[in-house]
């Protein structure tokens, strides 16, 4: 089963507070100039993004050592950490999400003019927006599955927690070609840049955990729950 979403910007909306934290100012001590630039970017961002995403739902099974996940006959080897979180899944949703290439083009326009600050804020806003877009899709999947008495897990992405980023090549095979306009390079880089991919486990016995950051050893990650 394939589900695709085109999401209006008003439904996602990046706020000043989202960006403050991301760029380092979480205590409200952000200088006015930076605040003004963020507000300026956020006032216009809608015209540079096209939030879309979706997933395919695949039957899931695990090989005997439980470290491999089989989805639609393809074998995935996320790290033990991730497989442990997914192991009670009966199905796997393979997702991708993007906000399009417009935001990167916009950031590059600023860069060409030597305006590194606007360019940086634009870039960061894009990173936040793609995650927030996926939050909406994730929440909708949760509702849809709840209708069938199924629960879902957090999302897990190739490249995180020792899951090889190269496994995206297989993940993309679980989705229609060019799905949501995202393509994958040989080096497993998604185009547009502001795109994410991953798995969400579905089943009666799976759970969503609030503080999954303990899984990862990247102490300085900007996404880390403090």
């Amino acid at each position: 089963m394939i589900e695709k979403y085109n999401i209006e910007y008003e439904k996602v909306v990046v706020r000043l507070s989202d960006l403050e934290r991301f760029i380092g100012y979480s205590g409200g001590d952000i200088p006015d100039l930076f605040k003004d630039i963020i507000n300026e970017i956020l006032a216009d961002i809608e015209n540079h993004v096209n939030p879309t995403g979706g997933y395919s739902i695949n039957e899931a099974s695990f090989t005997s050592n439980k470290n491999e996940i089989v989805a639609d006959k393809l074998i995935f080897t996320p790290s033990q950490l991730i497989t442990a979180r997914l192991k009670k899944s009966e199905k796997i949703a393979a997702f991708v999400c993007t906000i399009g290439k417009g935001i990167t083009e916009w950031a590059n326009e600023f860069l060409k003019k030597g305006d590194t600050l606007h360019s940086y804020i634009c870039d960061v806003a894009g990173s936040v927006l793609v995650e927030k877009t996926m939050d909406i899709i994730h929440a909708d999947l949760k509702l849809k599955m709840a209708d069938q008495d199924l629960r879902i897990t957090n999302r897990y992405s190739p490249g995180y927690c020792d899951w090889s980023v190269a496994e995206q090549q297989k993940l993309f095979k679980l989705l229609p070609e060019n799905f949501c306009g995202i393509t994958l390079t040989e080096t497993s880089l998604m185009n547009p840049i502001k795109s994410i991919s991953g798995f969400i486990g579905i089943g009666k016995g799976v759970k969503f955990s609030k503080h999954d950051c303990e899984l990862c050893n990247m102490e300085n990650c900007v996404y880390r729950n403090k």
């Binding site: 760029i23 380092g24 100012y25 200088p31 006015d32 100039l33 930076f34 860069l111 030597g114 590194t116 600050l117 940086y120 804020i121 870039d123 490249g159 090889s164 980023v165 190269a166 390079t185 040989e186 080096t187 497993s188 880089l189 840049i193 990247m218």
Partner: protein
Amino acid sequence: MESLLNEIAHCVEFGKIDLKSPYPPDMKGKEGAAELTKKALDEGIPAKDILEKGLIVGMAKIGIKFRANEVFVPQVLMSAKAMSTAMEHIKPLFITGAVKAKGTFIIGTVAGDLHDIGKNLVSMMIEGNGWNVVDLGVDVKPEKFLEAVKENPNSYVGLSALLTTTMVQMEKIVSLIKEDHPETKILIGGAPVNENFKNKIGADFYAPDPQGAVEYINAGAA
């Protein structure tokens, strides 16, 4: 003279570009790195001193603070802007030979990788420390690095990668460059790279942050 140079360093450290810049808030309405650099030149202070005892000092301070997580990317960008705006007054003097770059640093994000924020920060910090920077951009093929080394003898080479699938390119680049130019020092950086990986691929230095790269090449130039 000393106090003017200190003021210039202060402007760069705190990202005060020029008179009209509202940042930082406590320096609003005051002259910035651009005006003070011009003033110093008009007063006859040698450009070399303005660069080494003023501008570069400010840039080094912000680099150290960034490494210590005391300031964030936007502040570094403001400092780099203050530096580059002031440099507009100094640059013409490079032609006359009154000031010289410490050397040339070639930088790029390796083939297959499009991440550029980290690479740009390194590039700005190194330029702000008195180096001539040749920025090859992103998705740079090994041959392009080699070509740049040929065109810029005795340069340092910096490689950036943000994905484990692209950092493997670094090995190819290192061996390609070292084959013809074994004396070229190559440093690497980016989120998935570390000291072990540097040793494995035969690069010369792993820089966890821009300041690390600056200190390594400055030590070599000294």
